[in-house]
């Protein structure tokens, strides 16, 4: 034991090391994300004794609240959205006593001065040690004001020397490649890259992290994890919900910006990347950036062949009749914004040359499901006779990310009986049955990582830029080419027929797995 070299009491198997003292500022503190995710996640961290002892938070938005009103507002949020229920009154009250609120405009320097004064008070009263976490829970057009405000007021960013200061930026990081670069320039003018945490909550999900564990903790898969054995890979991010009153946002985003540029390409990177030498943040992030750089850009007319865009019409989902996208609130009558996208990508490197990766995402599909399918090639020769193997398909490995987190392996097995008949059966691993504890919410994990300064699960700028490089030519082509007839799929269907043709275009018989 060497007192002074850290805290000797926080060593050992079971005592979980909590992050260092932290003062957190949530810009957009009364908004939807703070309400649904951030504050419930903080409450659950406190409930599980994972927040630092020295912690305090201030929310800031334009809405007028006193501290007490803000706490009451957030209590309702936690009562509604916390994954643990019912909320524990004593724990909430203790936690809430460290919640504060400052009403103010993001463009007003006085807001940042008052936030800075409160943060100084946190250091004195809560022992937060000068460590500052700025969470930009804002719509993207408000990012610049907040970042400039932090920088000009000197409450954090470069030059801050009373502790660490980090900024969390919500997706989407930019609207296109050019605006992403502008935002990056602005953010890094105030914060060095090492202190910028671009949050993609998908990467905080246990089942997404399990892709890394599955690939790199199981030696038997690595030899077949390449173009010689894998026929193709599918990444599906399906939602049964529509746009849920987010018409204003969705009209400027669409499926490409909302899902493909971030979630789907980040998942592709985890599936396709080379094994990192260590699990050190930069080793993992280097490999992800390399594989995204190897994704072949689809340009010009090739976009028309390799990408299918769709938009839902009216239909039925989960037994309820639902409106067409164009009839949703705040959506233009003749909107051509895509609510569905399927794309065929190739990864031009030694491992994956010639193996297509099919990504698809959509709103108002039959069910909510996110999964990765690694479809293996068929056995080179089947000796059983045609009739005996009717029900046999090539092996497939399904990594289920949500909602039923787990892994399915499709294998061939003999049908019991006197004859040699084989058919495909599923071998299932379910998180819910082997690790039946409630899984922590992705935001809990990611907030802790920001506090301890671990960026492994946060996309680095080069990954974000490479992802924009992949999707920007698609957006450019769409800007000049006429859209297909939209809507082209009914709510409650698995997307446009053209998506089925896309996956089968190089090899008849390829089909989307039905989740």
């Amino acid at each position: 034991m060497t007192p002074g070299d850290g805290n000797p009491l926080l060593v050992g198997e079971r005592v979980r090391a909590t992050p260092p003292p932290t003062a957190m500022v949530v810009f957009g503190g009364s908004g939807d994300l703070a309400h649904r995710k951030i504050v419930p996640a903080l409450y659950n961290l406190e409930l599980h004794r994972l927040l630092p002892q020295n912690f305090a938070m201030v929310g800031s938005s334009r809405t007028e609240f006193t501290d007490e009103e803000y706490r009451a507002h957030m209590r309702k949020a936690v009562e509604e959205f916390s994954r643990t229920q019912p909320i524990q009154k004593q724990v909430w009250e203790s936690f809430a006593s460290r919640l504060h609120y400052i009403a103010g405009s993001g463009g007003d320097p006085d807001t940042y001065a008052r936030v800075g004064d409160l943060l100084d008070r946190f250091d004195d009263e809560h022992g937060t040690d000068g460590n500052r976490l700025f969470y930009l829970s804002l719509i993207p057009r408000l990012f610049p004001d907040a970042i400039r405000g932090i920088g000009k007021s000197g409450i954090g960013g470069r030059g801050w020397d009373r502790g660490w200061s980090r900024v969390v930026v919500e997706k989407p990081f930019g609207h296109d490649l050019a605006s992403a670069r502008e935002l990056q320039a602005l953010v890094t003018e105030v914060f060095p890259e090492r202190d910028v945490f671009r949050i993609d909550h998908y990467l905080g999900k246990e089942s997404v992290q399990n892709i890394i564990a599955f690939r790199f903790a199981n030696g038997i898969f690595e030899p077949v994890w390449n173009h010689r054995y894998v026929d193709h890979v599918q990444v599906t991010v399906a939602e049964s919900l529509g746009i849920e009153h987010r018409g204003n946002f969705y009209e400027t985003a669409g499926a490409v910006r909302d899902i493909i540029q971030n979630h789907a390409l980040q998942v592709l990177a985890l599936v396709a990347m080379e094994p990192p030498a260590t699990f050190e943040p930069e080793d993992v992030r280097n490999e992800k950036a390399k594989v995204l750089k190897a994704v072949r850009r689809i340009e010009g007319e090739a976009v028309d062949r390799a990408v299918v865009r769709g938009q839902y019409g009216e239909g039925w989902v989960n037994g309820e009749q639902v409106a067409a996208y164009r009839d949703e609130p705040n959506v233009a009558t003749g909107s051509t914004v895509e609510t569905y996208l399927a794309v065929e990508l190739l990864v031009d490197n030694w491992r994956w040359a010639g193996t297509p990766f099919y990504l698809r995402t959509g709103k108002r599909l039959p069910k909510r499901a996110t999964e990765v399918v690694v479809q293996f090639k068929a056995a080179p020769h089947l000796p059983f006779g045609e009739a005996a193997q009717d029900g046999l398909e090539p092996n497939a490995l399904v990594l289920r990310i949500q909602p039923d987190e787990g892994i399915t392996m499709k294998i061939g097995a003999k049908v019991p009986g006197p004859s040699m008949e084989v058919r495909s059966v599923n071998m299932d691993f379910s998180y819910g049955t082997s690790f039946a504890d409630d899984l922590p919410d992705a935001y809990e994990r990611l907030l802790l990582d920001v506090m301890v300064g671990d960026p492994t699960l946060f996309p680095r700028w080069d990954s974000v830029e490479e992802a924009w490089h992949v999707v920007q030519p698609i957006l450019d082509r769409w800007a000049e080419a006429p859209p297909p007839d939209l809507p082209n799929y009914a709510a409650g269907e698995w997307g446009p027929k053209a998506a089925d043709e896309l996956i089968a275009r190089h090899r008849p018989g390829r089909r989307w797995r039905r989740p």
Binding site: N7, P21, H48, G127, D428
Partner: protein, 361 residues
């Protein structure tokens, strides 16, 4: 007895009486019966859990405890009632498939074996019942026979040996015996009491991670532990002593309290471990710490359902933090959490040695 054995009528167990050699068949048949009624079952197992107890009452208690764990740590559970082999020797067994009431048809196995055999042969009774290649956790209900061959044999086939020192017949003395036996064990060792101390240790450690106590962790001057479970007080004190490098100077019993003085790197620390009444493990821990600005105090208390940590430091407002005791409902003994630990817990082993040194006074 064949696989047409009677259901639910033996020994008060809601299990099926089966011949020891027919256990796997009976479980398979029960699984198929479940599936016939309710669709496919997922047989989930993350470990083998062997619970050793001495009599039927202990077996019933053990079964009740592990049933709560099923959904959290689905395991092949073997309750071994190692009865004294006086008179006629024999082995009787009961088995059942337990289905979880949530999740996708998840089920696990419970087997009860009543063995009146020479203790040397208990291992032979257990080994055929273990699922292959899964770790073996052996939970000894009550006081293990530390100097007995049966203890060594069963420990030798276990990856982890778990005890609950609160259930020892003579907790302080048996804790000292456990510490001695631990040195010869190849299996990792756990004490559920140690697990139940985890939230206490987290709350006691956390204030030393930031100001104003960060630089004062080596200046603890006074420690008082009010312990409902005496071994919890000893282990907590042992933890402080081992982590902070305290050397036991002298100790004695005063009534039913231990009073000890430790030499620390920056002076001395007086420790008092008093018995307390309550429903948990400890009821209160007080620390007094010297800081650059004067004496500070840290107190953790246990009102129902949560813990409260209070820090008072010179010139600063008192801070009070309340946190939850999660898992208390589903895993009150802490056994489930023990099933999630695989390697040796060196911090516990070191704390146990210091606790035993105190217990022997």
């Amino acid at each position: 007895m064949t696989d047409t054995a009677r259901r639910g009528e033996a020994q008060g167990w809601a299990l099926e009486a089966v011949a020891p050699g027919e256990i796997e068949k009976a479980l398979e048949r029960q699984r198929r019966a479940w599936e016939g009624d309710q669709g496919a079952l997922v047989r989930a197992s993350v470990a083998n859990l062997v619970v050793v107890c001495q009599d039927r009452a202990g077996g019933q208690q053990a079964l009740a405890a592990v049933e709560r764990l099923g959904p959290r740590a689905p395991s092949r559970c073997v309750v071994l009632i190692a009865a004294s082999p006086e008179g006629r020797q024999g082995v009787r067994a009961w088995a059942r498939v337990v289905q979880q009431d949530r999740g996708p048809g998840m089920a696990w196995d419970e087997v009860v074996v009543h063995a009146t055999v020479d203790p040397r042969h208990l291992t032979a009774v257990v080994l055929p019942l273990l699922l292959p290649e899964l770790p073996v956790f052996t939970f000894w209900w009550g006081t293990p026979p530390f100097a007995h061959e049966a203890f060594d044999e069963l420990a030798s086939v276990s990856d982890r040996l778990i005890v609950d020192s609160a259930a020892f017949a003579d907790p302080p003395a048996d804790l000292a015996r456990l510490a001695k036996a631990a040195s010869a064990l190849t299996a990792a060792l756990s004490d559920c009491v140690w697990q139940r101390l985890t939230p206490w240790r987290e709350l006691l450690a956390a204030p030393f991670g930031g100001p104003p106590l960060r630089s004062a962790v080596d200046r603890v001057r006074w420690l008082r532990v009010d312990a409902v479970e005496p071994t919890a007080g000893l282990e907590l004190t042992g933890w402080f002593a081992s982590r902070l490098g305290w050397a036991l100077d002298r100790a004695h019993l005063s009534g039913d309290a231990w009073v000890a003085r430790y030499a620390t790197e920056r002076g001395t620390c007086e420790a008092h471990i008093a018995q307390s009444l309550g429903s948990g493990t400890l009821t209160r821990v007080d620390l007094q710490v010297d800081t650059d600005d004067g004496p500070a105090s840290l107190r953790v208390e246990a009102p129902p359902g949560h813990l409260v940590a209070t820090v008072e430091t010179p010139g600063q407002a008192t801070t009070r933090r309340k946190v939850g005791l999660t898992h208390l409902v589903t895993d009150p003994a802490g056994l489930g959490a023990e099933l999630e630990v695989f390697g040796r817990d060196r911090v516990f082993e070191q704390a146990l040695l210091r606790a035993a040194a105190l217990a022997e006074q």
